[in-house]
Symmetry: C2
Subunit: 68 residues, 2 copies
């Protein structure tokens, strides 16, 4: 699973801390997601996409290894 959170966050000119506050999660969570440590939950992914005025599929894309 790849994501473009960092890219869209910068495009919107906000910091990781700012995004964390707007989405209602901790700064660590944003860092971990941007660094690819783990995937966000579905509601968090939808809230992030919505904040950027994009679809979930634009921000997050499946990779081969996501299919079993």
């Amino acid at each position: 699973m790849k994501n473009r959170v960092s890219e869209y966050r910068k495009k919107h000119g906000i910091s990781q801390d700012g995004l964390a506050q707007k989405t209602g999660v901790s700064r660590q969570t944003i860092i971990s997601i941007e660094k690819g440590k783990y995937n966000p939950s579905l509601p968090l992914a939808m809230i992030i996409a919505q904040l950027f005025n994009e679809s979930v599929e634009t921000i997050f894309t499946l990779e081969e290894k996501d299919y079993k």
Copy 2:
């Protein structure tokens, strides 16, 4: 978080077990998601939406309580 997995599954004429196999998870997982026991992970939500040829937002919708 509400979802229309059951609705779209029936529209596509497949059983819970069939959907479980196509998405690579257990039948329990499908049951739990349809019953609203918990949300699917982001990759699973995307695989389900993709299988139904729909966007994640069409199958899953945020509710007030999803925002903190």
